[in-house]
């Protein structure tokens, strides 16, 4: 392991004095992150045992990504949660580039929710290689606000933390706000604004937030059932909010081609009103943007992934587009089709007309590459993370424990893997790095699943700019 300053300090490597009024965490602009961020040397990865035979709590894995290190591709630390059964899923920082003007604030604490337990954990990552759990908010405290099932964590520019909540166990979901001391402030929005919730992203310069819809926890927790789709229990709408007021300004129903809108991203440049949302079940990509003349947002299907026939399956199989991200230069949109076993990249230089650049078929139900270094890949590409310079794309293979068991039951016995592709942004190509493999099948307590990935000093799916 190299002795890069990023390993032992909560301060990123770049020099704040190079930028006007830049005293806080993160980078002054997306371009500054690309130029000053340096190569990722560690990753934090959600790792879980919930619902398996392994009688152990979920953990946050610290993965060594430094090719010069003796422990490259190894899990070098594990921060265990105090309870079993959490289903660690998505997580986020207490501060990001949206607070880069806030002197004294640091990107130091990870907020790590349990999707099933509704428990919120706070991890102090000042020591990047050896983070430690410092606080736990128990589910009962969360339930007091008639909210449960925490999902997306974003920091708010002044130090607060906002978490999308997918229930009470019945509809509707909402948003929980924590203050900078990690105490529950309360509910962010007036109850009743939305019926379902999932992911969100905000663009403070445009005073807008966009949120998506999965379903109520009682619907998606147990597993996926087509009967629930037929009964309208899954979402197909996106909501545009007044970011200051916390109220919904506009809702767009994406229709049948927009079933189960999950990950949503605005372009990184803070002036932009363009973004993309991936619809998992319909396996389409919608482009949205603000029509300034009409004074409202529009959404249009921009990419369509066709279902594929499988000789041994009864019906055409959707790609199940479960994760997307946008490179920091806003040039490429990447995504994963979990059931087809494909990662893909589209050129979105013109966001209204995405152009397919490349794709990589690996694992999953149809993927060509099923073994890396002799390790069989028993599930499809799922959660993605891209290097700040846009040249290395990483992914893990677990979606959600009960859905994994349904579509890739072997993953419970074999564990997840983390894989990597080298990206050439100039030519728009992807190439699988067959020397790279992190194997959660070899964890000491038994095979574990691996889900969302974060870099210690900001990444393409958590940083927002003002």
């Amino acid at each position: 392991m190299s002795d890069s300053p990023t390993q032992g300090s909560a301060q990123p490597e770049h020099d704040h004095e190079h930028h006007h009024n830049h005293e806080g965490p993160g980078y002054a602009t997306p371009q500054a992150a690309i130029e000053e961020g340096g190569r990722e040397k560690l990753a934090y990865v959600m790792s879980l045992y919930v619902g398996t035979d392994v009688d152990a709590p979920d953990f946050v894995a610290v993965v060594d990504l430094d090719p010069e290190s003796d422990t490259y591709c190894e899990i070098v630390d594990r921060i265990e949660m105090p309870n079993r059964g959490d289903e660690l899923h998505h997580f986020g920082w207490n501060a990001c580039s949206s607070s880069c003007h806030m002197e004294g604030l640091e990107r130091q604490h990870l907020i790590v929710p349990g999707q099933r337990s509704s428990r919120l954990h706070v991890i102090d990552a000042a020591d990047r290689r050896n983070p430690e759990l410092v606080e736990v908010i128990e589910p009962e405290e969360v339930f007091e606000y008639d909210l449960s099932a925490p999902h997306t964590v974003h920091c708010v520019p002044d130090g607060q933390i906002l978490i999308s909540m997918l229930g009470d166990a019945d509809l509707p979901g909402g948003f929980l706000e924590l203050n900078e001391d990690f105490e529950i402030e309360g509910r962010w929005e007036p109850p009743g604004e939305i019926e379902m919730n999932y992911d969100y992203w905000y663009q403070p310069r445009q005073n807008v937030m966009v949120s998506t819809e999965w379903a109520a926890p009682k619907t998606y927790y147990p597993a996926f059932d087509l009967e629930d789709v037929e009964e309208g229990k899954y979402g197909q709408k996106i909501h545009f909010w007044d970011w200051e007021d916390g109220t919904v300004e506009q809702t767009i129903d994406l229709g049948e081609e927009g079933q189960i809108p999950l990950e949503v991203r605005f372009l990184h440049t803070p002036e932009s009103t363009h973004g993309f949302v991936g619809t998992a079940l319909s396996s389409n990509m919608f482009h949205f943007w603000r029509d300034e003349e009409a004074g409202e947002y529009r959404a249009e299907k921009a990419i369509d992934f066709e279902a594929r026939e499988h000789p041994d399956w009864d019906m055409p199989v959707p790609g199940l587009t479960t994760d997307i991200l946008i490179s920091l230069d806003d040039r490429y949109l990447f995504g994963s089709n979990w059931l087809h076993g494909e990662v893909w990249m589209y050129d979105i230089s013109d966001p209204s007309n995405p152009r397919r650049a490349d794709s990589l078929s690996v694992g999953g139900t149809f993927g060509d590459v099923r073994e890396v270094q002799g390790r069989e890949i028993v599930a499809g590409p799922q959660m993605l993370q891209l290097s700040l310079d846009g040249e290395r794309l990483y992914w893990t293979t677990s979606l959600f424990s009960s859905w994994d068991d349904q579509f890739y039951p072997e993953e419970a016995e074999r564990g997840s893997v983390m894989l990597k592709a080298d990206v050439d942004p100039r030519t728009g190509t992807l190439e699988l790095d067959e020397d790279f493999l992190v194997d959660w099948g070899e964890c000491p307590a038994g095979p574990a699943r691996a889900h969302e990935i974060r870099w210690p000093d900001g990444d393409c799916t958590s940083d927002v700019w003002q």
């Binding site: 059964g85 449960s148 147990p222 996926f224 349904q406």
Partner: protein, 120 residues
Amino acid sequence: MDRHEIRLEWPTGRTRTLAVREDETVLEAAGRDGIGLPYGCRTGACGTCAGRLLEATGHESDDRTLDVDDAFAYRRCQRALKDRHRADGYVLLCVAEPRADCRLAVGPSVHTELVENPWK
């Protein structure tokens, strides 16, 4: 407080028998005895803790086979189970308090029986 004998049976053939009070759930009693059963939300919403009733019997004076809703009282609604699951004897052990002696299939494979891959 009445207690009931709950025999837990794993697919591997392993078994354990618990004495469970009527005011505690099977999951709570298992935890008290240091037995690791799968669980998640602990509110009956997620289904991770699903077990399946194999057999339930009343007291000696009432030695008849009972169905799952006679064998358990539920602390909260079993929201993760559909009617077809309840009819098939599935029970969420995080909210189920016993009212009879039972044999239960347990372990994570019980939950995976609940919903199949719809495309396969």
